[in-house]
């Protein structure tokens, strides 16, 4: 059977999802490339995924737990609670940063070969996930250290990992598109991430947020993800605030839809812009 390819204005749009499926092999290869480049020869590559969250955890435990004296979730040790929040947060921030630069970094590909462009930023999220797995291993070690066993709630963790993916890919795609169009947007990204670190309940439990603000606070989709992770990993000590979680899920889905939409709107002109 012969392939027949018709090129016409607007046609790429219609075959988009079919093309995305057709190019899945390229997705694997790009993800594998990013992974092996990251962990190859650079010992620091893997070490970085260990050092960064660990140091942040220490700092947050000292500042929020000791100096500010904020309470942990139930009886969970403060460092464990911080680290359970760090897991999704580092995943979120790494995917955002990596995705944002991915198209510029692969500009030679964009201008020379056709493939659905969405492959590039989503493949970088896989790298962020690899970092996540490393950090998760440290978390397990810490659990053993504190002799803290998670409950049955840990079975729900995969669902929250999926939510973390959704919450990362949406804004990631949007930022990627903006970054191609406005090159100086990349200066804004580190600032946004830094701000996000303090706005999201990473260093503290979201139970310290007063109840009348809790629903509004959950508009940040990362809040739902972090709360969910803590609930799963710390044996449900802090309880799960369901209305907030529902809002976070809805916002994450809206962001995902919006990100894909924005990305596809600008995607056609990437080759001309880069």
């Amino acid at each position: 059977m012969q392939d027949v390819i018709v090129i016409e204005a607007g046609l790429q749009e219609r075959n988009y999802w079919r093309d995305l499926w057709r190019y899945r092999e390229l997705f694997y290869v790009l993800a594998w490339r990013d992974l092996s480049v990251r962990y190859k020869q650079t010992i620091i590559g893997a070490a970085w995924a260990v050092i960064r969250p660990f140091l942040t955890m220490v700092v947050f435990t000292v500042i929020f737990g000791r100096i500010a004296g904020l309470p942990s979730d139930g009886t969970a040790p403060y460092p464990l609670m911080v680290f359970a929040g760090m897991l999704p947060w580092t995943f979120f921030s790494t995917s955002l940063t990596e995705a944002a630069g991915s198209l510029i970094g692969n500009s030679n590909l964009i201008s020379k070969v056709y493939f659905p462009r969405m492959i590039v930023p989503t493949a970088t999220v896989v790298v962020a996930f690899a970092d996540f797995l490393i950090t998760f291993a440290i978390f397990l070690v810490m659990m053993v250290w504190y002799q803290f066993a998670p409950g049955w709630q840990i079975l729900a963790l995969p669902a929250f990992i999926v939510l973390a993916f959704a919450a990362s890919i949406g804004p990631g795609l949007w930022i990627t598109a903006l970054n191609v169009k406005y090159r100086d947007f990349r200066y804004v990204i580190p600032f946004m991430i830094q701000l996000g670190l303090y706005v999201s309940p990473v260093g503290f439990s979201s139970n310290v947020v007063s109840p009348q603000w809790r629903l509004l606070y959950s508009l940040n989709p990362v809040v739902g993800v972090i709360d969910g992770f803590r609930w799963c990993l710390l044996g449900g000590q802090g309880g799960l605030y369901l209305p907030g979680l529902a809002i976070s899920v809805v916002v994450a889905v809206i962001f995902l839809w919006f990100g894909i939409n924005r990305f596809r709107k600008t995607e056609k002109s990437f080759a001309d812009l880069i």
Binding site: G10, L26, N106, N108, K112, A271
Partner: protein
Amino acid sequence: MPEPIISVENLSKRYLIGHRTDTDAPFQYTALRDVIGQEIRNVMRKAGDLLHGRQVIQGDTVEEFWALKNVSFDINQGDVVGIVGRNGAGKSTLLKILSRITEPTEGRVTLRGRVASLLEVGTGFHPELSGRENIYLNGAILGMSRAEIRKKFDEIVAFAEVERFLDTPIKRYSSGMYVRLAFAVAAHLEPEILIVDEVLAVGDSEFQKKCLTKMNDVSRLEGRTVLFVSHNMGIVTSLCPTAIWLDQGAVRERGAAREVVSEFLSRRVPDRDRTLQLGNIRRHGRYDGPLRLESIEWLSGLPLRHGEALKARFHFDITGPVSAIAIGFGFSNTGGVRLLSYDTDFQDGFRPDLAKPGRYSVDVTIDSLPLGPDIYSLDVGCRSGDFHALDYLPACYQIEVIAGANTPGTIVREGAGVRLLSDWAWDFDAQSRRDEAISVAMPGD
């Protein structure tokens, strides 16, 4: 009659070029700060216009540019077609549309078969990865499945001659090895349609020959269709039986490659295109003195040809008395390094004084232009006796120099540099003389 493997119908591509009102430097990308800055300037300008009672002009001017306009052609299975045309004729845009990197504005293309486009060798090669890994990476980027690459792997490695370095990161490869590996992957793609852009202009001549043979095999023996774009007319005529000449976004001629190429090389540029206007170009600096360069007329025609005679006339206006003037022009490479300069006062030191206002001109004749085929930027200037610059236009135009009648076919376009005529004396008898000397030294056996 079988259906054509490629049919292009009324293909057009429009680009919108925005002009900024207060800067003439084209930016390659938009910066948020520019957009904001521009918006503020626009508002200020409009407010100023309102205050002064002028008409308010909305926005910056946007110009349409048709890179391709109503291009139609069919290509049958097994055809090898060369595409020629000068820079900006729409060749790259056509290739980009055929390889689906950018979408057309109008028209349609039907491709009946798997397409592989080689707009560059080694697309996506990663320096940190080994040769082996890069074969898989590059193959996937070019559209091969892992199973296919695995099947072809040994063949690719043998073609590239890199067996010993398979597990070395390619950042340690020599440029020759890099190109060989890149071409080897591409050569084993086995698509029904292969689109090639100028990739043969790299690598040593031995390898170029190997690539050409491979391309020949691909088309002649395997019956594949090849679209080939090159600035090297020698390769086009030797590889492609037929050719298409693109000119200003339209098909100007199509036919036997030899005829199309010779027509393309000997085309007559209309008179109006032989004159480059200088008067309306914005000057960077205070050049509002009594002399202003107005235009250059290329009497010997455009494009300029390597190794051939060049005749040009410089027109300039005088508004007041000037003393001891010298006019010069030069060619710089794309990196801005001046390669060649010519001045009116070199050799005889003659610098005329001019008092009467009006239009003057000066002619230059160069017997043999030493610039090799490439794109250069043109610098033009004029100074007076005290070395005070009267007018200066650095990089005011891009000038294409093409191969002349005597340019050897082995010279590729990029980095051809300055080539002067030189006398050479070959010694073909050295070997036989040495043999003689040996037989004299060892007599009688």
